[in-house]
């Protein structure tokens, strides 16, 4: 049984349309439904907009309203999608299922020098011998680089690394390779944690300036999946249209 105690409408009647307030004293149902709709519309408008600022503002406000509608709670944290540990580290993680054996996928990731092809925010990774490597990323302020150690290397199962203490951006991460149930291949899980310069304000600022680690990771994983499953990325780049130059 549901916890909602309202009586069902008599058979054949139409549903009531008057606003209702739910038992927990959250936002009234009608308000939430309007909010959800506007939110989704704004997200749509934000996605469609060619102007980055408008995209960001509409998209974020839209996502916020939709989230508020969905949860009945304040949207700000959800809208910016920043997850943090109590220790102030920002967490980013995502997962994708790829129709290939774990060993094959593990081998691609274990080639550290090849990682920049998988993770586009990386500019370079150099193997320094042993478990040590040097990582370089492109940051708004220029390139930043640090040394890291492999902290785990379990063939076909897991790779983990951590920046050495004192790195410009303290960070650590891991990639897990798990057999998917049935014949679906391998679940690849990536977890990254970093301490943004400037704490959580820094994380929000980075987000507002268009650095979206979660989205970037998602894009990276989807690109990896397509490379492994198809051998190429689908595209519409250069197709016919009635825009200037006739290209899409």
């Amino acid at each position: 049984m549901s916890e909602d105690r309202s009586t069902p409408p008599p058979e054949g009647s139409t549903t009531p349309t008057e606003p209702q307030t739910d038992a927990a004293g959250q936002l009234p149902a009608l308000e939430r439904s309007v909010m959800g709709s506007v939110g989704v519309a704004l997200m749509g408008a934000g996605l469609r907009s060619a102007r980055p600022i408008q995209k960001l503002v509409l998209g974020s406000v839209g996502a916020g309203l939709a989230a508020m509608a969905a949860t009945g709670r304040n949207p700000l944290a959800t809208a910016l999608k920043i997850r943090q540990t109590p220790q102030g580290e920002v967490l980013v993680s995502d997962a994708v299922t790829i129709g290939k054996p774990a060993d094959d996928l593990y081998r691609v990731w274990r080639d550290l020098a090849g990682l920049p092809r998988l993770m586009t925010h990386l500019k370079a990774v150099e193997a320094l011998g042993g478990r040590r490597s040097r990582w370089t990323v492109e940051a708004p302020t220029g390139t930043v680089s640090w040394e890291a150690d492999l902290t785990a290397d379990e063939p076909g199962r897991r790779i983990a690394w951590a920046a050495l203490p004192g790195a410009a951006v303290e960070n650590h991460g891991e990639v897990l390779f798990r057999p998917a149930p049935g014949d679906r291949g391998t679940e690849v899980v990536v977890r990254l944690a970093y301490r943004p310069p400037g704490g959580s304000a820094g994380a929000i600022a980075a987000r507002l300036f268009g650095e979206e680690p979660a989205q970037q990771l998602r894009d990276d994983l989807m690109r990896f999946k397509r490379e492994q499953e198809l051998g190429f990325a689908p595209t519409t780049e250069g197709q016919s249209s009635a825009r200037a130059g006739g290209q899409a």
């Binding site: 469609r48 595209t235 009635a242 006739g246």
Partner: protein, 392 residues
């Protein structure tokens, strides 16, 4: 080449655009011999679909002749006559291997747009149906680029006319899948179809082909009802009768065993149009767009199936879930897995079980398409389905 182009809200025009070229070695170029306007295209016309861009080429129901293939294309040859599913699928991902072609993981280059709205997953790409669905150029044109050419296009080897096979690309499989999803027990089950547009017509005839004991079609447009009646369906005009009362009476008080809602957002397309439309309706507090869904849930018999061939793109509320729960209904829905239906449905056409051209009311050239978009939208002149000849 000539193509139908989206020029902004309520502006569709014929323009000269560059001929398409192969962009990937798995592509083919098709010379389009017939194409159609789909009900869902109307919502591109309305401009309510997010992520359309001015200059986009429209159209997702088309067929033609292969004129060029990329170097990795194995199955298709220049000169093949093909129908092309409206959804684009890679053929190798897990959903594709399970026959869930419209749920393809890999064919939408703009996956992040759909992911942002649909819980972190996106479906496959669609021809001519917004950038959220991949931004692929459509087939209301003289030529079209077809990606994954070994997966989608299906060769037509018999001498069936274009008009008899064209709808294998969308509305026939869409109506068929809606009926198949009901799990009809032949000779026993009664099926009600809300909406007698093209998809509703094919859903009704598919329900008959699958053995439904009785099919009831509900609409308000006389020509559409007449077309359903001609196929042997009982019809209900909801402007003249109380639908719920009429359905109870027609089924001895049980209600139809299965209900197909081919109105809902079919009027809004099987794309994301519903998203913004729904939002607008909600703002005006106008709920009429889900009337059919509400009727479907309220009328359906105990243990029945509610099958949704159309699209629900966004959030809806005031859905009588209590009725659905109390009666133990099953919901089946989703974009059509067109690829898997083409061969079996083609066999039925070849066997003379059905001639899909029955649904066509208007034939025209590409140049007439902008006018016909309006004729179709306003349901003028008995318009139910428009077929265009890009070379006429």
């Amino acid at each position: 080449m000539k193509a139908i182009v989206w020029q902004g809200a309520n502006r569709v025009g014929v323009e000269t655009v560059p001929d398409p070229t192969l962009l990937l070695p798995t592509d083919a170029i098709i010379r389009v011999t017939s194409t159609a306007i789909c009900g869902s295209d109307l919502h591109l016309l309305d401009g309510v679909i997010p992520s359309m861009e001015k200059g986009d080429i429209l159209g997702h129901e088309f067929m033609g002749e292969v004129v060029e293939v990329g170097r990795d294309v194995r199955r298709l040859k220049v000169g093949d006559r093909v129908v092309v599913p409206f959804n684009i699928s890679c053929g190798v991902c897990d959903p594709c291997r399970r026959g869930l072609f419209s749920a393809c993981d890999n064919s939408n280059p703009n996956h992040r747009m759909a992911e942002a709205l649909y819980g972190g997953v996106s479906g496959g790409g669609l021809f001519g149906y917004s950038h959220m669905y991949g931004g692929y150029a459509g087939g209301q044109a003289q030529y079209v680029r077809v990606p994954f050419a070994d997966v989608g296009p299906h060769r037509i080897e018999s001498d069936l006319r274009d008009e008899q096979v064209l709808f294998l690309t969308d509305i026939f499989p869409t109506g068929y899948q809606a009926a198949e999803n009901c799990g009809i027990v032949p000779g026993r089950d009664v099926v009600a179809v809300f909406g007698a547009g093209p998809v509703g017509q094919f859903a009704a005839r598919s329900a008959q082909m699958l053995g439904a004991a009785h099919v009831i079609v509900i609409d308000r447009v006389p020509e559409r009802l007449a077309m359903a009646e001609a196929a042997g369906c009982q019809v209900i005009n909801y402007e003249q009768e109380d639908v719920l009362v009429a359905l109870r009476e027609s089924t001895g008080g049980r209600g139809p065993d299965h209900v197909i809602d081919a109105v809902g957002m079919e009027a809004h397309g099987h794309g994301p149009g519903a998203l913004v439309d729904t939002a607008k309706q909600r703002l005006k507090l106008s709920f009429d767009r889900i009337t059919a869904l509400r009727w479907a849930l309220l009328s359906c018999a105990k243990g029945g199936t509610v099958s949704l061939p159309g699209v629900y793109g966004g959030l809806i509320d005031k859905v009588p879930m209590g009725a659905a729960f109390a009666k133990g209904l099953t919901f089946k829905m989703g974009q059509t897995h067109t690829h898997r239906h083409i061969a079996p449905l083609l066999s039925r056409i070849e066997a003379g079980e059905i001639d899909p051209s029955f649904v066509i009311t208007h034939r025209a050239s590409l140049d007439d398409a902008p006018d016909l978009y309006r004729t179709f939208r306003d349901k003028q002149g008995g318009c139910i389905k428009v077929v265009l000849n890009p070379w006429g």
